[in-house]
């Protein structure tokens, strides 16, 4: 759609950078830019309420390896390496603890069939130079006594970590505020040659705009290949220490995971559904999650089912994010006063990829060199 240029409502106070989307990606890009001395405004009616709110927060490139996805693995490992310093700086800047834990992921095979799959994957992981240890069922249960006696075996990925995404969002908001960033609690309607038009009709003007609107990014940048991939996810509440590590399981071929927090909350996820923006929690979704989680950890039926959530992973055709400059959506030849950057499409890995996304976007904004690995994320790569 061609933006209307006749009506130019008064622009809000100008900033160097407008970031559309207040999830972990947008907030961390804004925070990084603000730390570099730019004036930054984030546009979001309800920051941290999208995929960030639903996400489990696994930083698990090793245990998530999939055939055909080596670039995704390399990118994930690069970002995982940035997490400890990202956490330290963010906790310092915000005074908010992230519940960052690095005790590794225990990957469980429920049946002998599941074990065969896991075993083949472990071999693949070892050929990639990743550190994984095969464990017997009893060894798994020594590490996590709440696991079912019926599990067949498992694998420990010691280098995986996890974090509480809701705390990350809270910390980023506090840190951004501390560095003078502002929040415009409105919905962005469209990009204009001067900035971002808000739902109220005003234009937030800035020479640079970062689109980090997750699954909604293609509403602002219509050519961007991002689609919502629905996930249903549960939060259980129990005694702290019920589980001490991230547990991922393969239960009769279907994947499940349990992520424990320091306060006793356990996140159980997640369905993967190609149903557009369908925000319903379904009986079948909750049933399947609990069915598989209970096979792995029978005792969890005694915990409180504290929350059911739906989130939309911003999926791309190749499961890699879109980070970098994009063509603005107005007609060619139109005066180009605004540079547009995408920082979206993180699919299942938004929390993991937050540090590298923030580092890359900040580099693009300041004209510095972005990390080499981010070349895989060029938003223009699908153009044929």
């Amino acid at each position: 759609m061609v933006p209307s240029l006749e009506v130019t409502p008064e622009a809000t106070s100008a900033a160097d950078v407008i970031v559309v989307g207040g999830g972990v990606e947008g907030l961390s890009v804004a925070w990084r830019a603000a730390r570099r001395g730019m004036s930054v405004a984030v546009v979001d009616p309800d920051p941290g309420s999208g995929a960030t709110h639903a996400a489990a927060g696994m930083l698990a490139p090793v245990s998530e390896v999939t055939y055909t996805e080596e670039p995704q693995l390399r990118l994930g490992l690069a970002s995982l390496a940035l997490w400890p310093s990202f956490r330290d700086e963010l906790e310092d800047d915000s005074g908010v603890g992230l519940d960052y834990r690095s005790d590794g992921t225990l990957k469980i095979a429920y049946s002998a069939d599941d074990m065969a799959v896991l075993d083949e994957l472990a071999t693949f992981e070892q050929t990639l130079g990743l550190r994984v240890e095969r464990l017997t069922g009893r060894e798994c249960r020594k590490l996590e006594p709440m696991l079912s006696p019926s599990i067949r075996g498992g694998m420990l990925a010691r280098d995986d970590a996890w974090v509480n995404p809701r705390l990350v969002a809270r910390a980023l908001l506090a840190a951004l505020d501390r560095h003078g960033g502002t929040l415009i609690a409105e919905r962005a309607v469209e990009l204009t040659p001067r900035g971002v038009r808000l739902a109220s009709g005003t234009v937030a003007a800035a020479p640079r705009v970062v689109v980090a609107a997750g699954s909604w990014s293609s509403r602002l940048l219509p050519g961007l290949p991002v689609r919502p991939v629905k996930g249903q996810i549960l939060r259980l509440r129990g005694p702290a220490g019920f589980l001490t590590r991230c547990v991922r399981g393969l239960v009769h071929g279907s994947p499940a995971y349990l992520v424990p927090r320091g306060d006793g909350e356990i996140t159980v996820g997640a369905t993967v559904e190609e149903l557009g923006f369908d925000g319903r929690v379904t009986a079948g979704g909750v049933y399947e999650l609990l069915r598989d989680a209970r096979e792995l950890v029978p005792g969890l039926t005694e915990l409180e089912l504290a929350e059911t959530t739906v989130g939309f992973r911003p999926g791309t055709p190749d499961n890699l994010p879109l980070i970098g400059p994009v063509d603005a959506p107005w007609p060619a030849g139109e005066s180009r006063e605004v540079d547009v950057l995408a920082a979206t499409g993180h699919h299942r890995n938004g929390i993991l990829l937050t540090p590298i996304t923030a580092a890359a976007a900040a580099a693009f904004l300041t004209g510095d060199a972005a990390p080499e690995i981010v070349k895989f994320c060029d938003p223009g790569r699908f153009a044929k």
């Binding site: 055939y67 293609s218 290949p225 919502p228 009769h252 149903l275 557009g276 190749d318 499961n319």
Partner: protein
């Protein structure tokens, strides 16, 4: 071979490999596999898909010109299957349906009674019904009599990759069938697909064997060749099996 077309429900297909879409790590990998497979018909699970959603698996099929075949995967009763088939008809504007009614979630084996019940209702409702069944020649015949456009016996349970566990039954189904026989489920590798075609099946449907392979595009290419090879071997007619050698170049 150009005249050896596969006719299903009155439509002609050059490819005898029908693909499923489940299990691929990404849409791009699925797209590459579909291209390599040369398929013209691909199943999509209606219960896990919003046909209006942009950038979905349906868009991948549309861009490739592959015809989508809605299936009723995940249904346990005839009632659900009929409902799902109608949703698929409305959403995809096709009256073709791959009818799949499973008996339990561990084996995913088809429930013959619910399947037959649903098939009768769907045929009466004007659908072109392609039922997924066990390797049961009697049931296959009954479904054909009930008006199904094909029968789709399994080689082995869905996703098991165990190949064709009872080739004899598949042969019996082929022998008696007046409609196309499509070997559905259980294919693990290329030789399984070739065997299905050698046994006289008209086509093969597979998904996991390709989408879960370490290199899906390569396995799709292998399956395409295997289906073609098996079909040619079937048309050519294999030699009889003998207990002892027979010199191929007689000495006189």
């Amino acid at each position: 071979m150009s005249e050896d077309v596969f006719v299903l429900g009155g439509e002609k297909f050059a490819s005898r490999l029908i693909m499923g879409t489940g299990g691929a790590p990404s849409l791009e990998v699925l797209d590459q596999a579909l291209e390599a497979s040369g398929t013209e018909l691909t199943t999509v699970a209606m219960r896990r898909l919003d046909p209006a959603a942009r950038g979905s698996v349906l868009d991948v099929l549309r861009a490739r010109g592959v015809r989508p075949l809605p299936n009723t995967a995940g249904c346990y009763t005839a009632g659900e299957a009929v409902l799902t088939a109608r949703l698929g008809r409305e959403a995809l504007e096709t009256d073709w349906v791959k009818l799949e009614v499973i008996a339990d979630e561990r084996t995913l084996l088809p429930d013959p009674i619910e399947t037959f019940d649903a098939a009768e209702q769907l045929v009466a409702d004007g659908f072109t019904v392609l039922p997924y069944i066990g390797d049961d020649p009697a049931l296959a015949r009954r479904l054909e009599q009930a008006g199904c456009a094909a029968v789709m016996p399994l080689g082995a349970p869905i996703g098991s990759g165990l190949g064709i566990r009872n080739p004899h039954n598949i042969e019996l189904i082929v022998e008696a069938a007046g409609v196309p026989v499509i070997l559905d489920a259980g294919i693990g590798t290329a030789s399984d697909a070739a065997l299905a075609m050698e046994l006289g099946c008209d086509a093969v449907l597979l998904a996991s064997a390709v989408t879960r392979a370490q290199r899906p595009d390569l396995m799709a290419t292998a399956m395409r060749s295997a289906v073609t090879a098996g079909r040619l071997a079937h048309l050519a007619g294999r030699i009889p099996r003998r207990r002892y050698a027979e010199a191929s170049s007689p000495g006189w």
